[in-house]
């Protein structure tokens, strides 16, 4: 299951999507934006995605994780549009024969999603809003985003 969704995420459904009779371990990660970011109080969040590319990149990440670890199934969903503070914006589930792989792959997938998958967050504060990431300078992290060097 790979989805970009404007509806509230259902972590139980994502978990169910990786059920597998050969899986001994399932790890589910849920990420939620908190009320305060760098000392500013967030009143509303908004996510935007390059949807087709985001789905392509999620599938590529899942495939790379499966090459790297012995996994059974991977599911990744991300919410877009306005997200109330405290509601999940991302859910990732991994099933594997053993817990080592499930934990390592789960952690790797959320780290890579944040580096690679084309989704952007706008934080709304009282009296202003900021696109996160747009102000950060510095060159792209090549290892992370360019396909030819990825998945090793």
């Amino acid at each position: 299951m790979f989805q970009i969704s404007a509806e509230p995420l259902d972590a139980a459904r994502v978990m169910a999507a990786v059920r597998d009779p050969a899986a001994g371990a399932v790890v589910v990660f849920t990420g939620t934006t908190r009320r305060t970011n760098a000392g500013r109080r967030v009143v509303k969040l908004e996510y935007e995605a390059h949807e087709r590319m985001a789905l392509t990149e999620m599938r590529r990440l899942a495939a790379a994780a499966k090459r790297r670890w012995r996994l059974r199934k991977v599911a990744m969903v991300h919410r877009i549009g306005v997200v109330p503070v405290g509601e999940p914006s991302v859910v990732i589930a991994v099933s594997a024969g053993h817990r080592d792989e499930a934990f390592l792959a789960g952690r790797w997938l959320i780290d890579r999603l944040k580096e690679i998958v084309p989704i952007w967050k706008k934080e709304h504060y009282r009296g202003g809003a900021v696109w996160i990431g747009a102000q950060q300078g510095g060159p792209p992290r090549r290892r992370a985003i360019y396909p030819a060097r990825r998945g090793r």
Binding site: G31, T32, T33, Y47, E48, A49, H50, R52, M53, A54, T56, H78, P88, S89, V90, I110, L113, K114, E115, I116, V117, P118, I119, W120, K121, K122, W131, I132, G133, A134, Q135, Q136, G137, G138, P139, P140, I145, Y146, P147
Partner: protein
């Protein structure tokens, strides 16, 4: 010298400044970096922003040379995942 028609989509902060999409005619041999310099010149402060490029839904480097029919996406560093 022939020109290419290139469709460009913007996302997030760039979309708010430049709109969702535009068509551009560029000379053969134009790189993404050069295309972006031309686009960024249209609004103040844009050329200082960090950007990423994708062609046909794959990340490509700024040195990528545009080809006929390319659909380009230009966007800020990503920030999804909570």
């Amino acid at each position: 010298m022939k020109t290419l028609q290139i469709e460009v989509c913007f996302f997030a902060a760039l979309r708010e400044r430049l709109g969702e999409r535009t068509m551009r005619a560029v000379p053969r041999g134009t790189t993404l970096a050069a295309l972006w310099r031309a686009l960024a010149a249209e609004a103040p402060g844009l050329e200082r922003l960090p950007v990423r490029f994708a062609v046909r839904e794959r990340y490509v480097e700024p040195s990528y040379v545009l080809r006929a029919g390319d659909s380009v996406a230009i966007f800020p560093p990503v920030s999804g995942g909570a």
